[in-house]
Each structure stands twice: as structure tokens, then as C-alpha cells.
Symmetry: C2
Subunit: 313 residues, 2 copies
């Protein structure tokens, strides 16, 4: 029931995924049983890939995130993450209150050992291919060491899920030199140099668009602004160049349409969570489900834990 387009687009996206021949996962739709059943009927779905889990509580978008676990224990969000905790589900996807999703995942699944703060990572488009940008807004006023955790988490994801070998890591900054940027960024630069990462130094806004780093690290404030600018850019190009159909434009649209990006990946948790856009439509939900499956199969949380354990030891 989360997001602007629930339940219609959420259920429609689940059905799209259920009907995809390449699907290799089952879908538990957590929401008010009668409403979800009704939607499934509208979509004429009668296969066995979708199971409805009754979750009658509704989480409002302005509901205080940390309280949802207690006040809305039978919401789709809490139910789904709860199934993950029990080992029944292997990943949770929500288009709803993103603070509530993060808080519930944190409380039920817990943080990965040695990760100070989980982050929201996004597979954002560039001129070349998707790169992992984090943090996209889960945190503010991070310490330098937290940015290094982001880099380690993002690097594991880029390798395990995106298949990028020895992914390059860049620090989003205002210039190439070590002594550029805020105090925190300057300190992070020094820590990143020493970390077991393929750190390529600072990347500026233009380098980011060029795809010069496979993993781009930014404080949550800047990462969130970057993510939303990219969405805004893409929407603007649709307005201006929407009628153009060339090989290049098709590739551009495939890369830049945020519905294809899979959503906000929660990294640093003992489990797999994805926060999709509040405006997610069925195509966005479809891609988030496939991304969640790859994320879970790649065993990212365990790999992050392993990497961090090695460092701390």
C-alpha cells in the first residue's frame, strides 16, 4: 500500500514480474488481503508466483518512522521485513514511507557488524553505464569514517551485483586535489587512500556524468541532491527530445529512465531492502523486484560483513 500509486501500480508491477519468463523468485504481496486480491483479479493473474500475505495496517507517508514497528505491526512494510527476519522472505521492497522502511529494517534485521550507518545506494546513470552512488539521503552530517564504510559497502555491491571487477571508487568533490572540499571530505580522502579499495581520488560533477568512477561516494545531502538532479535532467530531456528515436537516444533512455534503476538499495543491513520511488509505477516495481532478487542471491550483506571483518581485524 506504499507510495503514490498503490495498490494499482504495485500489484501491476508484481504481476509483470510474475509473468516474466526469466523470473526466478516468488513474490509475497503484503497488504490488506481483500484489496490485493481485487487488484490481482483486475490484472487477471491466476499463476502461483504470487502469494498474498494479509497486512491490513496502512503506514502514512508522514508517520514517524521509528514508531511504525510498534504502531503498525500489521502493515505491509513491517510484515514483509518480519518475514525476512524469519527467513521466509529473502528481500523486502517498499514504495512507501522510506524513513519507516529504513527504521524497520534497522530494528528487525540489524546493521551489518562494523558498519556504523546504513546508506541508501542507487545505481545511477552516466554516459557509460550505471554506477553506484551513495549515500543518497539516509544520513546527514556524516563523519569521514562513515564515508569510508559507504565506499566499502558500495564497492561490494558493484562487484557482487553489477559484476564490475575491482570497481573504481571516487569521492564526489569540488576538485581533483587531496586538499579540496570540506574538512570531512579531506579526512575521508586520506582514509580512503589507506582502505582496501580501488580508490581513484576525487571526482567532480562532470566526471560523475562521464562514469569515471564505478562507485561514487558523497555525504547523504549531496548524494540526494545529485540523484534528484539526475531525475530532473532525464525528465527535461524527455520534454525536449522525447520524440527523437535513434540508437543513441534509445540507449540513453534505457540508462537514464530511473524506473530501470531498481530503486534505493539499503546497504549495511543484515538483509536486503529496497526503497523505491514514491512515484514508482509498475515498470519501476518490476525492476525493483528483479534487483532485489539479484541483491539477495549475491549475498551482499554477508560479503560486506566479511570485507569489514577483514579490515577491522
Amino acid at each position: 500500500m506504499g507510495g503514490d500509486n498503490a495498490p494499482e501500480q504495485i500489484v501491476k508491477g508484481a504481476v509483470l514480474a510474475a509473468n516474466a519468463p526469466e523470473r526466478d523468485f516468488g513474490i509475497l504481496l503484503c497488504g490488506p488481503k481483500d484489496i490485493v486480491e481485487e487488484e490481482l483479479k483486475k490484472n487477471s493473474y491466476s499463476g502461483d508466483a504470487i502469494t498474498i500475505i494479509d497486512a491490513p495496517d496502512i503506514v502514512a507517508m508522514d508517520e514517524p518512522p521509528a514508531q511504525v514497528l510498534k504502531t503498525k505491526p500489521k502493515s505491509g512494510l513491517v510484515t514483509c521485513v518480519g518475514l525476512q527476519k524469519q527467513g521466509i522472505a529473502q528481500a523486502s521492497v517498499s514504495a512507501g514511507n522510506s524513513g519507516a522502511m529504513m527504521a524497520t529494517c534497522l530494528m528487525l534485521l540489524g546493521r551489518t557488524a562494523n558498519v556504523a550507518r546504513p546508506a541508501i545506494a542507487c545505481a545511477v546513470p552516466t554516459a557509460k553505464r550505471q554506477v553506484i552512488l551513495l549515500d543518497c539521503g539516509a544520513n546527514v552530517d556524516e563523519k569521514a569514517s562513515v564515508l569510508v564504510d559507504f565506499a566499502l559497502c558500495g564497492s561490494v555491491y558493484a562487484e557482487a551485483v553489477m559484476g564490475y571487477e575491482n570497481p573504481t571508487v571516487g569521492l564526489v568533490n569540488v576538485g581533483e586535489e587531496e586538499k579540496k572540499g570540506t574538512e570531512v571530505l579531506q579526512e575521508a580522502y586520506q582514509l580512503l587512500k589507506q582502505a582496501p579499495l580501488n580508490f581513484i581520488g576525487n571526482v567532480e560533477g562532470r566526471d560523475l556524468i562521464k562514469g569515471n568512477a564505478d562507485v561514487a561516494i558523497a555525504p547523504g545531502y549531496a548524494g540526494n541532491v545529485i540523484l534528484k538532479l539526475m531525475e530532473g535532467f532525464y525528465e527535461l530531456t524527455k520534454e525536449v527530445f522525447g520524440e527523437v528515436e535513434t540508437e543513441k537516444s534509445k540507449e540513453f533512455n534505457r540508462l537514464w529512465d530511473y524506473r530501470n534503476h531498481g530503486g534505493g538499495l539499503l546497504l549495511g543491513l543484515n538483509g536486503v531492502g529496497i526503497i523505491t520511488h514514491g512515484r514508482a509505477d509498475s515498470v519501476a516495481i518490476y525492476h525493483s523486484l528483479f534487483t532485489a532478487c539479484r541483491f539477495a542471491k549475491a549475498n551482499v550483506p554477508a560479503k560486506i560483513a566479511e570485507k569489514l571483518a577483514g579490515i577491522k581485524a
Copy 2:
């Protein structure tokens, strides 16, 4: 002699401006006399709009900014700002070492009374029209009150030079609510509400692209990243859609080509300074000269001083 394309493109841009029928200013080209003369000859310029001021010193791009005034007193940069201090020039434009330009302007022209930190403002493109974004990287780790100064300076510029009546001011942030973002941004929000500004609250990345605020305020770190993302984005659209020629695409190119933006406007100084892109070509220089003229004619520094005096009183 500043920037990647000096002296060729700088002189060519000056000649372009000198030959423009709508030009209502004279141009003092400050650089090594023989080199500049040679370039003017290549451009077959023989009019009287350009005067060469001999300035044989060359400022390197990695020269420590604060020392240039002493170590390179006869550089084009120091000579030009010096002429402004004497009242002979009314504005200075440089494509060279931007830190040196800011430091020299600060030392020779001084800050506007009550402005804590000068900023670099840029007229950046949106879906609608140019908006003033600041700070684009002159500062890092700003206090909340400094962001309010940026808003006042940018607001004066938007009204006086861009002709935007009662310009709207937005704070670049991660969400609409007052309590979003870093501590500094939350504090700035409260201060901006009380300031004599048309403050419309927080603007997110997508709102910025939509042109929802005439003046967009961000810490220098984020502002710089935004500016360079916008450049990178425009370059990408040229690669993908470069061959498209429609009314919409022409308007888009006119708005988004950073060469048309005039350069980085130094706000908060007792004088008019513009830092152009290091890669500035003749078209960028041409536009920066016209922008400098409008900036000076609009008497922005005096208007900023007046506005701030009113507030502090």
C-alpha cells in the same frame, strides 16, 4: 593569459565583443603587450574598442592564490583588478587561476560591508530560464548565517541584473520539510524565513531543474557539484542528441550551453569580478564581457551593501 585557451580564445572573444553592434563598453586587454598585439593582428582588429595594457607576468594555474598579488604584480589578473580599484576599469574578467582571482579581488577591492564571505554565483539553466545558484565553490563548511548572506547577494543580482522581480529564493535540500538536511541547513532555513527575502523554502534537485526558485542557495561544496553536473549533463545531451534540430532543442541548447551563462559571478565584493571557465572559448569570453558590463551597470555591489545595511540596522 589565463585559462586553457589563452591567449587565442581570450583575444578572439574580446574582438567578437568589440565588433558586436550592441556593445556599450570598452575593453582593456591586460597581458604581455607583444603577445596580445600579435593576437589582435591575427584577428584583424583595428578598431578603438580595445586597449592593450601591458602586463608581462604570467600566473600559473597552481600558483598559491593569496601570493599572486605580491609575486605577480604585473600579471594580467592583478593589473586588471588594480585598474578597477583605481576607477579606470569597472569590471574584471579572468579565465585564469580562479583562487588567485578571488584572492586578488578580495585584497584589492575588499568585501562588501556586512558580507562575511564572498561567493561565486552562476546563472545556471533550468527547464524555464536561468536561475542564480550560489555558492558554486568559493567556500566550504559555511555557517548558516553565511548561507543567508548568499541569499541576499543572489537575490539582489537576480533582481538588478536578470530583471527578476521579487525573486524567489530556495534552499537546496533533501526534502521540503523545515527539519530536513544537515544541521547548518536546518538553521539556515529558520534564518531565511526571517530575512527580507522571497523565501519559498527547500528545493530538491528536481525542483531546481524545473526552475522553481530564481535564486538557489547551497553550500559551496554542493553548489560546485551541481554546477559541474549540469555541464556534464549538457555535454552528454550534445553527444546523444547533437544532431537534433527542433525549436525545443535550439531553446534547450541556448539555455544549457554554459558558454552563454557569463561565468562565475563574484558576489559580496566592492567591485565586479567574473571568473570564467578555464576551458572558456571565444564565445564564453564574449558572453562574460557582456555579463560583466550588465553586472557593473546594475551597480550590484552598492545595492548589496544597501540591502545588508538595512538589515543590520
